[in-house]
């Protein structure tokens, strides 16, 4: 009886009724900034997928006319739309191909992070007890490590490659997912239908996979979107420090790393890859937040 009273007074019933008139899809469509985010995401995804078709040149080819007579990079002009880099390669082509690196790492790293975080959060939240305590204490300890610092150390020691970098980013990012999912599972497991399924003799694994995971799917979807931005930023910082994806593979952070000493003479070499990073990150952030609001689930900042 008190349960019913509590539900009725905290306003969730009324709220969900008024929200119910529009589907989450309609709410998402109506979110203007969210749609701007979606457009940015689509542009980046298209750039990555279509890079071999739309890139004007081979990203790794060094052109003899790509450097000025003083051996300097060429400023943006009609031939090289965004200019050339230190080795006379076309910057636009390198940025387009760099989108592949960023997106692959962003998607893989964040996917793995969400999977690990969800597994840890669900197990710790459902079983609680000593197992839950150990898992969550471990999660707490891992959050004390500055993500970037830990990633630098790991990437440096493990010798960076595309997959290692993705894995390293996943290793430092899962903790945020684990914490949020843990808190949610604690609430979900107290609901009566879980008690009912347990009473009916559904095996534990079945309860976890068939009854608890679906409750978390929306949050996980939001994490899967918002976290891409974090992963892309982390990859850019690692590549900038030289412990990310190694040259000649074009990556945005790597391009900036290579051309930092030319900042005053060839600022476009820093500006354009920097813009690519910012637009990608803004896109996933805007879209992710709109998705969170539309689906009405909590999530991290």
């Amino acid at each position: 009886m008190t349960d019913i009273l509590e539900t009725a007074t905290d306003g969730t019933l009324e709220e969900s009724r008024s929200r119910g008139r529009r589907s989450w899809w309609q709410r998402l469509r109506a979110d203007r900034t969210g749609m701007i985010g979606l457009v940015l995401v689509v542009v980046v995804v298209l750039a990555a997928v279509l890079a071999p078709l739309i890139a004007p040149y081979d990203p790794n080819q060094q052109f003899s006319n790509g450097l000025s007579e003083f051996g300097m990079p060429r400023a943006p002009d009609g031939t090289y739309l965004l200019g050339t880099d230190l080795l006379g390669r076309d910057l636009l082509s390198r940025i387009l191909f760099g989108a592949r690196v960023s997106l692959v790492i962003g998607l893989v790293a964040n996917g793995v992070a969400v999977a690990i975080g969800a597994a840890v959060g669900v197990v710790a939240g459902y079983f609680r007890g000593w197992l839950g305590t150990v898992l969550m204490r471990f999660t707490d300890v891992m959050t004390a490590f500055p993500a970037l610092v830990l990633a630098i150390a790991l990437a440096a020691i493990l010798r960076p490659s595309l997959w290692i970098v993705a894995l390293v980013i996943a290793m430092v990012n899962w903790v945020y997912v684990a914490r949020a999912i843990y808190a949610q599972v604690l609430a979900v497991r107290e609901q009566q239908y879980i008690e009912a399924t347990t009473a009916l003799g559904v095996p534990t694994l079945g309860v976890l996979v068939r009854h608890i995971l679906p409750q978390l799917s929306l949050s996980l979807l939001v994490f899967a979107t918002l976290g891409i931005s974090t992963s892309v930023l982390l990859e850019a910082s690692l590549s900038y420090l030289g412990v990310g994806v190694q040259p000649p593979t074009p990556s945005w952070g790597g391009i900036i790393n290579a051309s930092q000493s030319y900042l005053t003479t060839a600022p476009w070499l820093v500006l354009f890859p920097g813009l690519a990073i910012i637009l990608t990150s803004v896109g996933f952030n805007l879209f992710g937040e709109a998705l969170r609001d539309a689906l009405d689930v909590g999530g991290r900042r």
Partner: protein
């Protein structure tokens, strides 16, 4: 209250022990033989084995763990492979720079974030407010090193107000652009948090009373509302320290500041594991300590909170 402080200190100690344990495990699962690194690539197996014995590498893992803890209690972080100096000495020379950048960065976050937050809450929904929202959003989505390079180009080169990187004699002028770079995202973010918490606080009864008894608007916000509205910001500064620390490490690289980040970066080039791990450990301990300080400041600002 004393019990609360004691318990938090104990928890902090536990967290530091956890951080040390994880660092220990990381050090020993890396595919590098420390004895080989010290002896050099051309050393005979006997020499490598002797050095390994000196380092205690032939002892069982628990014994090594206790040794590791014991040396850490004496501030002994091991010896650098490359420079043959003590890691603790390296840390001691690089730490002040990182600390200064941290403090000036947090100062930037708050000095920019608080006024902007107040302005946006007062001018809610106006053009100022919207403009700041956009800047804050872009700030959170921009890596610190890109902010740093843009600032460096604008205010180091185009308008040469500040040095083009480097440390010089370590005067404050070398810290302005780096501090802005690490603080930019946080300033925007905290301005947003403060804005929404101020809007909530301004609706509360005690502010209606303040208005009713004729407190001027400026005093309503600054004297009565701000103190309460700051609480979530303080909590967040503590929570975000880990992310912030990462930014500090990268920005040191942009501006060539000789802090822990540069120490680690140089160590990475030669795979100097003790120095890398020393840097990881120090930054993690800093985050734990920072969280602890935030938790201690919190009750001073809000005496209503009950401590269990």
């Amino acid at each position: 209250m004393t019990a609360y402080v004691l318990r938090r200190l104990l928890q902090g100690l536990g967290a530091i022990l956890g951080v040390i344990t994880v660092t220990f495990i990381l050090t020993y699962i890396v595919p590098v033989n420390p004895a080989q690194m010290i002896a050099g690539p051309s050393a005979t197996p006997e020499v490598v084995q002797r050095i390994g014995h000196q380092l205690g590498l032939d002892q069982p893992l628990p014994v090594r763990y206790v040794h590791y803890l014991w040396s850490l209690v004496h501030f002994d972080l091991g010896r650098s492979y490359a420079q043959r100096t003590l890691v603790s000495q390296l840390v001691a020379t690089h730490l002040p720079v990182t600390l200064k950048l941290m403090l000036t960065g947090i100062a930037c976050e708050l000095l920019l974030g608080i006024p902007i937050g107040i302005l946006s809450s007062v001018a809610q929904g106006g053009w100022w407010d919207r403009g700041f929202t956009l800047v804050a959003f872009v700030g959170v989505s921009t890596p610190q090193f890109v902010v740093g390079l843009i600032l460096l180009y604008l205010f180091g080169y185009l308008v040469p107000w500040f040095p083009l990187g480097g440390y010089g004699n370590g005067s404050l002028v070398h810290y302005v652009l780096p501090a802005l770079s690490v603080g930019f995202a946080g300033a925007g973010w905290y301005a947003r948090v403060l804005r929404s918490s101020l809007i909530d606080v301004l609706r509360q009864d005690y502010l209606r009373t303040a208005r009713a008894k004729g407190v001027r608007p400026r005093a309503q916000v600054l004297r009565h509302a701000l103190r309460n509205a700051m609480l979530p910001v303080i909590a967040l500064v503590g929570l975000d320290l880990g992310v912030f620390m990462g930014g500090v490490i990268v920005v040191e690289q942009v501006f060539a500041l000789p802090g822990l980040g540069q120490m680690m970066w140089q160590a990475i080039q030669v795979l100097d594991i003790p120095v890398i791990m020393g840097g990881v450990l120090m930054t993690a301990i800093f985050v734990v300590l920072g969280n602890l300080i935030a938790d201690m400041v919190y009750p001073l600002l809000d005496p209503r909170i009950q401590y269990h």
